[in-house]
Symmetry: C2
Subunit: 135 residues, 2 copies
DNA sequence: CTTTGTGCAAATTCTTTGCACCAAA
DNA sequence: TTTGGTGCAAAGAATTTGCACAAAG
């Protein structure tokens, strides 16, 4: 937990018990969790935790640049504590989201445009994972 | 409308008045509309149209490969009738989604993986458009 | 007729909001 | 104390579902 505590300070986020717990979960569970997954994972050990706090906390983390919101799952918001340039894969069957690191870094270059001020890119792959495919 | 009618047949979609109207709208309004935008645009001329039908219709179009669902807007599902490989830009201020065609075609290459069966890719850019920026 | 499509209303799910209470400085 | 954080309950928004009626073949 101390680790998460320190980590938050790097992003100028005041640590609280709840914030540290959420960050700790994100740092140790690189599953790009949904709000509900975070809430479900933490509430057994923090019975008073509310989902509103998880929403507030993730909004703050995104605002401070400590996590990035993923746009890959139409159903739920998902968050990644790894803010380095990398892509993601989502299995259309089980819904799991995985990191894809072997993507040419040049793909993350932002294109020039005279109509838009482009400042972020997201590369999302989808298909079926081997677990769902049955091997 | 005849155009849309024919277009649907190419994808083995039985045309109905509603389906043709939706496809016609998509073909002539390349704005990557949401369900609500489609519904709002058509309902004045089709008072009995229901939003459920718009949902059903778009689901069918996606299933038949006539349109592709965009994963770029966390708030609403958006659809693109142009199924060729190209990227999109979404303005975080006004929410408008635009096509980005000047992206290196190689970026759309699907990476190989022994863990996943990757069969689709989406490249999404975001930022602020010039209209919102004030010039 | 029989199948397929449409549309209303209700239900569900995810997210946001308002407000009171708690905690830290 | 004063500010900021938390949590409950209610509200809101997008989507899905169940079912009855309409349309097409």
């Amino acid at each position: 937990m101390l680790e998460a505590h320190q980590y938050l300070r790097q992003f100028s986020i005041k640590p609280s018990v709840q914030r540290s717990a959420v960050m700790n979960f994100l740092l140790n569970n690189r599953i790009h969790p949904t709000i509900d997954e975070i809430y479900m994972a933490l509430s057994p050990n923090m019975p008073t935790l509310s989902k509103t706090t998880v929403y507030n906390t993730l909004d703050l983390f995104v605002e401070k640049g400590a996590v990035r919101p993923l746009v890959i799952d139409e159903k739920n918001a998902r968050y990644d504590v790894d803010i380095s340039a990398h892509a993601h894969f989502m299995c259309k069957s089980c819904g799991a989201v995985h990191d894809i690191f072997n993507v040419n870094p040049s793909y993350f270059t932002l294109p020039q445009s005279d109509k838009f001020n482009i400042n972020a890119v997201e590369i999302s792959y989808s298909g079926i994972c081997n677990v769902c495919k049955g091997n």
